[in-house]
Symmetry: D2
Subunit: 154 residues, 4 copies
């Protein structure tokens, strides 16, 4: 296992696009310590990156209809403070760089003014039919480039 | 977020103790790609490290009864191949080093003769009552030392 | 268990209070049939009844801070059509009757104009400290009565 | 939904075939009450009925490979006592009757000598390709009949 560096030394600097999505902690996501179970964060990250794609104009469900899958290849998370039941967790999600055959996201999760966790995921574009690697679709790249150029000049 | 290196370059070399636990993939752990959902692996790792502790003679539930919690502080995973429904996943789990205020585990998950994923978790000993950091209990350390010395001389 | 009647033929008639909450299906909640896993609906119901309580002016988290727990005692669900990834599921939730030592909710879940499922849950008020049954707190009853009288006269 | 009868007063009488499967409660399946989350039981039931089918000689994964799906149509559960972390839950599962286009199971879940819950599920045979109802495959029926006749004469 080669090194799993986590590139989000500075989420804002490290990201070419950044959005925020809020999730409320469900009861079943807590454990008997009274905290959010460490495995529950995977769903929060999933929701946040899907909403980033949707905000660009490309729902992930549309990608799938076109025969493209995006399985997660790597997932790193560091927990700083526990999340609690009913917390409204702000998930800031940034696109780390222009996607190629993979797409990388960085995340910062906060609640009650405090950072709960920082995370990173790497996903791979996959041809759903053949199961072989694919490249980021041209129209998604165009949407990313347009949003980036708008954000940069904004 | 400082660097999140993943120390299991070689799980067998890197671990002072190593056990294997098998989990069968449940239907609800798959997603509509037909693969095990990336967030489902957190539970497999949890089960494997709990069984490693139990095999040493210290059930995690006993630690909790004594007022010690072990929340996860960091979790890294790299997915090599998809897991499938009904797979019997072998989770090899190794203790990375002698625990101090934290305890680190490395994992390799395999099914059908192939490595599915490699992972790493760092957990912190916590005083459940005060919520403050604690150290690994002396009797758990003694169990680890005994098992290590037996394994080394074996 | 022979007969599975689905008595909420008319959720609107059967409920003294009714609200709707929308949840979006997460990827991890689907299974490899491509449908929402049958066990995932429990979380949708939980979120909907919690939001009904919140809309009355009583967050469930506040009840817990006051030492009252609401464990589920019974849960019935009938699935009419599969839910899909990214569906926006409308969860209509109704309070079946004025709560006593228990509180009962009925649900109808719909997406894309079709009913996906109908469900029922019964929860018990519990003294968190002693683990003994409790009665619905007076202020929650007052909030329910006020909302009901407003809805009836509306 | 007024009456919640729990008709499986006698699981043994009500079932034509009966097996027991044990599951250990995972940490992530508990909630902050310290109990097993009510939605977590769905997975325990799934595992138990799948193991009943496997014990007959028909893995559910094999059914799926042959193009047959078994989505859950109805699910009823009554919770008698809370489950706890690390509990070894015995799930007794019985086939309610000879399957037709649907297959029905009853369950009793116990731990530490006490009944935790009783449940019922109804599943429908579905042609995976067309999404239309199917009947229980002849070879599965034959396996059920053989096991029943062996159990009856045993």
């Amino acid at each position: 296992m080669e090194k799993l560096t986590n590139p989000e030394a500075d989420l804002h600097k490290a990201s070419i696009l950044l959005t925020t999505h809020t999730v409320r902690v469900r009861y079943g996501e807590t454990d008997r310590m009274g905290f959010v179970y460490y495995g529950a964060y995977a769903a929060y990250l999933e929701v946040a990156r899907v909403e980033l794609l949707r905000s660009l104009g490309m729902a992930y469900s549309v990608l799938e209809k076109r025969g493209i899958w995006l399985p997660v290849r790597a997932f790193n998370i560091r927990y700083h403070r526990p999340g609690h039941y009913d917390d409204l967790i702000e998930v800031e999600v940034g696109l780390c760089k222009r996607p190629t055959a993979k797409i990388e996201f960085s995340y910062r999760l906060s609640a009650r003014g405090e950072v709960l966790a920082e995370a990173y995921t790497e996903l791979a574009f996959l041809n759903a039919e053949t199961g072989t690697p694919a490249r980021c679709p041209a129209d998604l790249l165009a949407l990313i480039d347009a949003a980036y150029s708008k954000a940069s000049s904004g």
